[in-house]
Symmetry: C2
Subunit: 173 residues, 2 copies
């Protein structure tokens, strides 16, 4: 499938409601963070979505659109969610993700991007030149990557409970 | 995490709303079936959820609870969704999944299962003795497996669109 801005916005618009519907009424047994920075639980993953809305997608798009001399993206902290306010609940995070995602989609729409702008480039600190089109496509795939991660970490809680079915469930292997 | 019936019902209750929130407003470019029986798209996967509600979880639980001489589960057709009515839309499938899942959760609750019942066994045609507890745990993990599959098949549509990000996105590799 070729990149399409409207199709991309469809997915970006759906993700906050999808994670809310999945996680919003679950008990903490399914969702709570253990504080392990390298094994994220649903609570951590929603924090990561929020942090990426704050520090990744729109800020990087702005670097590209500005076309200044230095088009290198600011560094992104993939542990940024662990610096979020103490005492935040999962419900708080789901609300904040929905709010900031909606705000960012409005910014994206307000730019009324045309093909020439989607072809503009920025510099990724690791792998060099990337286009605005590729950045927005990655925003979409990043949403799906972490929805997949939420499904996987939840399923693993029942790794033993499924008994002999385990070998037939690829998500557990 | 140990198996818990109420915790299991939490996830079973959330899945229809989660897939509706994710898929309900997307265009067919993201969701439509290609008719390929071995590469399921979101439309096929929702059909598979429905078919499993009809033919797998509750019917197998009934075999276990009956404790008749023959406790072997009836065979399950993993291509059952391809025999569903022609002309069904994704919206129809999302509605039907929500309806039948709700009905099946009501049946499950009405049994008021106690530990002794959760330990009762049936015979899986491939791998033999399994308990009602393992069957219900597998129902939950099956939900998450196919949510993961939906995320994965959608992401793959942007396999090329993400450009050099591809090697950093495990969902594409």
């Amino acid at each position: 499938m070729k990149f399409d801005l409207e199709r991309s916005i469809e997915v970006l618009s759906a993700t906050p409601a999808a994670v809310r519907a999945l996680l919003g009424d679950l008990s903490g047994d399914w969702t709570a963070s253990t504080g392990d920075r390298d094994n994220w639980e649903p609570f951590d993953i929603i924090g990561h979505y929020i942090y990426a809305e704050e520090a990744d997608w729109i800020p990087r798009a702005k670097v590209i659109l500005a076309q200044a001399d230095d088009r290198t993206f600011p560094p992104f902290d993939r542990y940024g969610q662990f610096a979020r306010p103490n005492g935040e609940s999962l419900a708080d995070r789901l609300d904040e993700f929905a709010r900031i995602r909606n705000e960012n989609i409005e910014i994206l729409r307000s730019w009324e991007l045309v093909d020439e702008e989607l072809e503009l480039k920025g510099i990724h600190p690791q792998f060099g030149e990337v286009s605005l089109r590729e950045l927005i496509a990655t925003w979409v795939v990043h949403d799906l990557t972490h929805l997949r991660q939420i499904s996987t970490v939840m399923a693993k809680r029942y790794d033993e409970a499924v008994g002999p079915w385990k070998e037939y469930l690829s998500i557990l292997n």
